[in-house]
Structures are given as structure tokens and as C-alpha cells.
């Protein structure tokens, strides 16, 4: 119930913002949308499938750079290039999943960390990616119109994010998602129920990569520039923090987390130098006090009604 209400809320905000919000707020809402979409891929991988990944910004990089390079060197329009680059990211994710089949926990974290480092290193050292300077993102052209007004970019970014978020949400609640959840809780039990551990793992990583690459490509349109500093271990960790603070199990957590990390620093800016410190201190407190993320506030209602129902001897339907 809460979930459906949440969708209505997000859609309302997204639709009304162009009319009610100034340019600055509109831009930030758009960034929240694409960031949430990127993180939702991670939510699927880590929150649902239980696989740690410190590589999400590597997939964002493949999607963004891929799309821009396809346009610059092969003339493929961005709106087509982004899905293509996202697919490439998916393939890379699949391969990474294959490489890490037998790994868990900290070892998986370290391998994804190293993968992230290699991708970053590659971007900085290749001339084609602009090296450490980066690349300017070309404008989107459609039927002769150049779509680079803030409004046009907002519409494209939010639409792409909505598609991504909705798809991941559907996947989480599908049979596929249920199998992954089972896998997270216990390898052995899940396999005994018919899950193919190998393909589930690789597909989970591929899915998170596609989401990251796709949403990342559209975020590149908003940022208008690809700077290698955006694709580092630090940013990958940032996505993980968003996921954890907002709530690891659902895309709504990704949305809430993204909103916090985009808007709260603005409120804290009066504290200047100490702003970043306070933000991370807040994140730490959040993790301790609410390990299931902010979104777990809403499940209090469910848990409460479940508890009450069980007290009265009725099963919670």
C-alpha cells in the first residue's frame, strides 16, 4: 500500500516540478531522479541479491563515455547510443559476475573495488576518453531540434529514470527477484529449490550494470561534462551510502537516499567547512540507528499491523 502511494508521490513531484519549481530546484530534482535510478541497480544487486559491489560508478562510466564516444566517433545519436552503451555495460557486468562466481563478502568487495580502480585508470590514460581532462557531452538532437534547454533535459532524464526505477521495481517483485532473495539468505536452500546460482549471479550483476549505464548516460546529459573524477571509488562508495541510508531493499529507498544526499548538503552550507563532516557523521548515525534505511519508517505500519494481527491470533494475509 505504501509502495503504491510512494509511486504516486514521486510521479506527482516529477510532473509538477517544471511548473512550480525554479531552475535550480528543477535541476536538483532531475539529479535526484537519475542518481536514484543509478542506485536502484545497486539496490537490486546488493539489497536484494546480497552481493557487494563497489563498482557501480564503473558501469555509469561505461554508459556515459560509451554513449558520448558513439556519437562523437560513429555519429550514433545520443538517444540511441545511451541504450547501446548500457547494453555494453551489461555485458561487462555479466563478465565481472562470471569472474566473481565463487566470491562473497569482503573478497567480492575488494575485486569490485579493484575493477573500479582499473576502469578509472583506463579512462584517465586513454586519449580517446579525453584523458584526465574529460569530455564535453554533446547536445541531443532529435528530428533537427536541439534538445538542450533545462526543461528538455529534465524531461529526458526523468523519463529515463522512471523507466529504470519502475523496471527494477518490477524485477524485485518478480519470480527472478524472489529467487535472488532466497539466494541471498542461503545458497544451499535456493539451489535445492531450483535456482541456478551461476546464472542468477551473473544476471544480477549485468542488470545492475545496465541500470547504472542507462541512467548514467542520461545523468551525463544533465552534467554536460564527463570528468574522470566523477567515476572513482569515492563515487561508488557514495552510491552505496545512498542505498544504505535510504533503504537497501526497495527502489523507494534509493529515491529517498538520493534526495537526502542531493538536498541536505545545501541546507548545511551555512556550516561551510564542517558540512562534509556533519554529513558523514549523520550517515554513520543513520546506519547504526536505522540499518534498514529511512524507508523502514514506512514499514513500521506494516510491522505494527502484523504484530497486532498475530496477537489476536489472526494470520497477516
Amino acid at each position: 500500500m505504501w509502495g503504491n502511494l510512494a509511486w504516486v508521490l514521486w510521479l506527482a513531484i516529477a510532473a509538477l516540478a517544471p511548473f512550480l519549481a525554479g531552475q535550480y530546484l528543477l535541476y536538483n530534482i532531475g539529479i535526484v531522479a537519475t542518481t536514484a535510478a543509478i542506485v536502484s541497480g545497486l539496490t537490486f544487486l546488493s539489497g536484494v541479491a546480497g552481493l557487494i559491489s563497489i563498482a557501480q560508478s564503473a558501469f555509469v562510466a561505461i554508459g556515459s563515455y560509451g554513449a558520448v564516444l558513439l556519437q562523437m566517433h560513429l555519429g550514433i545519436p545520443l538517444l540511441i547510443g545511451i541504450p547501446v552503451a548500457a547494453a555494453i555495460a551489461g555485458v561487462v557486468g555479466w563478465l565481472l559476475g562470471f569472474l566473481c562466481l565463487r566470491l562473497d563478502g569482503h573478497y567480492l568487495a575488494l575485486v569490485t573495488l579493484a575493477f573500479m580502480g582499473i576502469v578509472h585508470y583506463t579512462i584517465i590514460n586513454l586519449d580517446i576518453t579525453g584523458g584526465a581532462v574529460g569530455l564535453a557531452v554533446p547536445s541531443v538532437t532529435l528530428f533537427g531540434f536541439t534538445l538542450d534547454s533545462p526543461m528538455a533535459i529534465y524531461v529526458m532524464a526523468v523519463t529515463a529514470s522512471a523507466i529504470t526505477l519502475w523496471s527494477i521495481d518490477r524485477l524485485i517483485h518478480s519470480r527472478y527477484g524472489r529467487m535472488l532473495r532466497a539466494l541471498r539468505q542461503s545458497d544451499i536452500a535456493a539451489v535445492s529449490l531450483g535456482a541456478d546460482r551461476r546464472s542468477l549471479r551473473t544476471m544480477a550483476l549485468a542488470t545492475s550494470a545496465v541500470a547504472g549505464g542507462f541512467a548514467g548516460g542520461f545523468q551525463a546529459l544533465q552534467l554536460t561534462y564527463l570528468d574522470p573524477q566523477q567515476f572513482t571509488i569515492v563515487t561508488a562508495v557514495f552510491y552505496i551510502a545512498i542505498m544504505v541510508v535510504g533503504g537497501m531493499r526497495s527502489v523507494h529507498g534509493a529515491i529517498i537516499g538520493a534526495a537526502i544526499f542531493v538536498f541536505v548538503p545545501g541546507f548545511l552550507s551555512g556550516l561551510e567547512h564542517y558540512m562534509a563532516f556533519i554529513l558523514f557523521f549523520f550517515v554513520t548515525v543513520m546506519i547504526v540507528v536505522m540499518p534498514d534505511g529511512l524507508v523502514s519508517i514506512f514499514s513500521v505500519g506494516d510491522r505494527l499491523s502484523g504484530w497486532m494481527a498475530s496477537r489476536h491470533g489472526r494470520k497477516n494475509a
Binding site: Y24, Y27, I124, G131, L223, M275, A276
Partner: protein
């Protein structure tokens, strides 16, 4: 008698004039009867924070001083500071906030290439005057953009050229080794130096690279030792450069070491240790923040009084100094633009600055096609007691 023709000519001329008046013309956003609103955009947190905090401190000091002296043409300055968090996306958001939400008249900053270069497209398609006192990417002023100005600091292309001129002049064996960082800063810097060296001719160049986070440079230094280079240019951030210089001495490299402006900070020599003696660095101005020229002393005392918590971190540093100099230059532009203040007027006034002196950094010259205020550099040397002295000769990149 005035003919119809003449009237038409005048009328036509007037219409053309009106038609070509730019979008900036009467744009006085952020200016009220008694206030001018400025935005300060800089990295106050994150890894580029030492530039942004300097930008804020130096700027604040200058703006407060001019307000205390009565303001500019009857208006006082007010400003709002936004943290770009050493990140391009945050910088873009911060810029939009200052321009769209806070509606500032002009912007002081941004403070790092990591933020400024990605912002270039956005900045140049807006009409807000941008005044940059610190970061050094050449892309910002070349090609010149109407509303983006830079003062005080030396851009990396000019710096590379000047380093090359300097080392070619002092090298006896005509063999130069360049030890550069593997990122944009080091790569670009080294390319600028070696390109100019090739232009000068009759010079052998060898190059080694390192990562900003490395802690051991023996491999590279041994290779340089085996070459016949008698000069080693070190182009990297302060932390790795310090280790490079120290290890070079410990391994007995027979080279004169010349560092980039990154190694020209007050505390640099102390972080290297006694191995810094005799090393040289490029610097953007003849005035050392710890020096004793009258303007510098005045600035330093005012800075230490205003920011005691920074003073105990051995500041003012070069970034504070350049920001203060930049702010005073911007204030001069605002003053010359007159009481009838608008964005076009400020830009025109800044363009008119020629050899404008503050006594804090090198004089600023702009022009209709020039947005780079300073194109000269100096060489400083570390003395026996680890104090610094600036060699008298000025080097110009023009």
C-alpha cells in the same frame, strides 16, 4: 537645414546601436540602490579544499575591507558562499543556485580545474561575469570568453613555457628530465614544457611518470640518474613532489630540481625536510606571503587578525594571497564601472585594466581579447635554513 536624409541616417544609426546592444546591456541583476550581491563559488571540502578555502578567506577579507571603507560608489558588497565540494556536479549545481536562485551580480570563483573546466560550457552561455583568482587550466581563457576573467595566477600553458625557458637557460649539459604526475595536471604540464623545449632546440628531454598517491619513486629516479640530465623538472602535487625531491637527494641525483607552482607553498620546504635546500620552484608572483614588502605585511597582519584559526595553520598561503589580490582587482573593476552599474559595464571596466597593481601579486592586464590577467612568473629558491627567496628575474610567457 536638416534634411530628411540626415534624420534617417541618424535614426538608422540609433536603431542599429540599439539592436546590437548585447544581452548584458542593462542587466543589473543583483544590484540594488545600496548593495551589490556577489557569489563565491569554491571547493570548501573535499580534496581541492585548500584552494577553495583560500578563495573564500582572501575574498572575504578584501570585501569586508572595502565595505568598512564606505563601499563602492555608494554601495556595499554582500556575498554568499557556496561549496562546490571538489566535485563537478556539485559545482554545476552551485553555479545554478547562485545564478538562478540567489541572483548574484557576479561570481568569484570557481577554484579548481576539476570544477571549472566542466563548468565552462555553462559559464560561457550565461551572462554572469566570472572572476577567477586561483585555478590554472588554460582552457578557461584560451579562447577568451567574454564574461570569464582570471587574475594573479599563472595558467598551466604559460607556466610550462616559462619553466622550459628557465631550465634551458641554466642547463649546462642541455639534458632535461621531466618527472611528471600521471594525471591531467602533470601530463599537460609536461607537454607544455617539452613542446617549448623542442621549440628552443638543442635539448635532450627524458620523461618519467608517477601517481599522485605513490610513496616510492626509486624506479623512476634511478632511470633519471642513469641519464645525463642535469635538470629535473618535477610536475606534480605537493605530497608526491616532496617525496620525489627528498628521494632524489638521498639517491644522489646530480640534478638541479625545479618544481611547478604546486611546490611554492609556505610549508612545502618543511614537509620535504633538509633535502629541500637548493631546490627551486616556479611561482606566480615576486611577493612571498611571509615577505616584508609593505602591502604584503599589511595584508598578512589583517589576515591573521581576521582568521586566527587559519593563522595557526601557517596561513596566509599563496591561495589566500591570490584570492585577496583577485578580489581587490574585481573591486577595482566594480569601481571603474561607475554608479550606473550593470554587467556589461563591469566587463568593459575590467577590460580597461592595464598593469593594475595591488602589491600582493603580479599586476593585472585585460583587454578586449585578453582575459588572462597575469602572464609572468618568477623562480623561488629554498635557502640553507629552509626559508624562501625569490630570484629577481621575471619570466614572461608572451
Amino acid at each position: 537645414m536638416v534634411t530628411r536624409r540626415e534624420i534617417l541616417k541618424v535614426a538608422g544609426g540609433a536603431m542599429v546601436l540599439v539592436a546590437t546592444k548585447s544581452a548584458y546591456a542593462a542587466d543589473a541583476t543583483g544590484v540594488t540602490d545600496d548593495k551589490i550581491k556577489l557569489g563565491i563559488l569554491g571547493d570548501l571540502t573535499g580534496h581541492a579544499a585548500h584552494w577553495g578555502t583560500g578563495n573564500l578567506a582572501g575574498g572575504t577579507l578584501a570585501f569586508e575591507e572595502i565595505n568598512a571603507a564606505g563601499g563602492i560608489n555608494g554601495r556595499k558588497l554582500e556575498w554568499i558562499s557556496v561549496d562546490s565540494e571538489s566535485s563537478a556536479p556539485k559545482g554545476i549545481a552551485g553555479f545554478k543556485r547562485l545564478v538562478d536562485q540567489e541572483k548574484v551580480f557576479a561570481i568569484f570563483g570557481p577554484t579548481s580545474s576539476a570544477v571549472g573546466v566542466p563548468l565552462l560550457k555553462t559559464m560561457s552561455s550565461s551572462s554572469v561575469p566570472i572572476f577567477i583568482p586561483t585555478f590554472s587550466s588554460p582552457l578557461i581563457t584560451n579562447p577568451p570568453v567574454k564574461n570569464i576573467f582570471r587574475s594573479g595566477t599563472l595558467n598551466d600553458a604559460d607556466q610550462g613555457r616559462i619553466i622550459a625557458d628557465y631550465v634551458a637557460g641554466i642547463s649546462k649539459k642541455h639534458s632535461i628530465a621531466i618527472m611528471r604526475q600521471s594525471d591531467e595536471y602533470g601530463k599537460n604540464g609536461a607537454t607544455n614544457v617539452s613542446n617549448r623545449l623542442k621549440e628552443i632546440g638543442n635539448v635532450k628531454i627524458s620523461e618519467e611518470q608517477f601517481n599522485a598517491s605513490d610513496t616510492d619513486f626509486t624506479s623512476q629516479l634511478l632511470r633519471i640518474r642513469e641519464s645525463d640530465a642535469d635538470i629535473m623538472v618535477v610536475y606534480g602535487y605537493p605530497a608526491p613532489s616532496a617525496i620525489v625531491m627528498r628521494q632524489a637527494k638521498q639517491l644522489g641525483l646530480p640534478v638541479q630540481i625545479v618544481g611547478s607552482t604546486a611546490t611554492a607553498s609556505r610549508t612545502y620546504a618543511a614537509t620535504v625536510g633538509k633535502e629541500a635546500v637548493g631546490t627551486r620552484s616556479m611561482t606566480t608572483t615576486r611577493y612571498l606571503p611571509e615577505g616584508d614588502s609593505p602591502e604584503i605585511v599589511k595584508f598578512r597582519k589583517a589576515f591573521e587578525a581576521r582568521f586566527p584559526e587559519l593563522a595557526r595553520q601557517t596561513r596566509p598561503e599563496a591561495t589566500d594571497q591570490l584570492a585577496y589580490h583577485g578580489a581587490k582587482t574585481l573591486i577595482e573593476g566594480l569601481r571603474r564601472a561607475g554608479r550606473d552599474l550593470n554587467r556589461e559595464g563591469l566587463i568593459k571596466a575590467l577590460e580597461g585594466l592595464k598593469d593594475f597593481e595591488t602589491g600582493i601579486a603580479e599586476p593585472t592586464t585585460f583587454g578586449p581579447d585578453r582575459r588572462e590577467g597575469n602572464r609572468s612568473g618568477f623562480v623561488l629558491e629554498i635557502k640553507e635554513d629552509l626559508s624562501r627567496t625569490v630570484l629577481p628575474k621575471a619570466y614572461s610567457a608572451i
